[in-house]
Point group: C2
Chain length 82, copies 2
């Protein structure tokens, strides 16, 4: 298991409720791929959403996001933290 | 005070020690701008570093990063979390 940061662009105008609903949609199915979405942050003005997860692979992260209806534009492993 | 996510590109090959040193350099002077850098994540392969902070403005975040020798390529307010 490793940590991943994924990024969604084009989410301009996203609301707090929409972010929570999207996150809940991930949480509802994440176990099927052994993923856990820990946190999400959104900037409605630039339309950027960042999601931090713990997962077996970047592909597993993306599969959950795709099935939940919001594929990520980038999925980066982040093995280093400080 | 708001939360900000900033992004550094071109950090290919960054090591865990280098990330910790860079983060420490921010922490050493962050109070001068009322900023607190909470966490940093790095992907050495794509050369991407994400920093989460609490700060009075994006400009304050960038001033600390610049003075510490590593200006960010993007600084986004992230008022929404889930």
């Amino acid at each position: 298991m490793s940590q991943y940061m994924d990024v969604h662009h084009g989410m301009n105008g996203i609301t707090g409720d929409q972010l929570k609903q999207a996150h809940q949609a991930d949480l509802a199915i994440e176990k099927e791929e052994g993923v856990h979405f820990e946190k999400a942050w959104a900037d409605p003005e630039s339309g950027t959403v960042y999601c931090l997860s713990e997962a077996p692979s970047a592909e597993a992260v993306q599969r959950i996001h795709e099935r939940a209806g919001h594929p990520a534009d980038e999925v980066h492993p982040v093995p280093l933290t400080a």
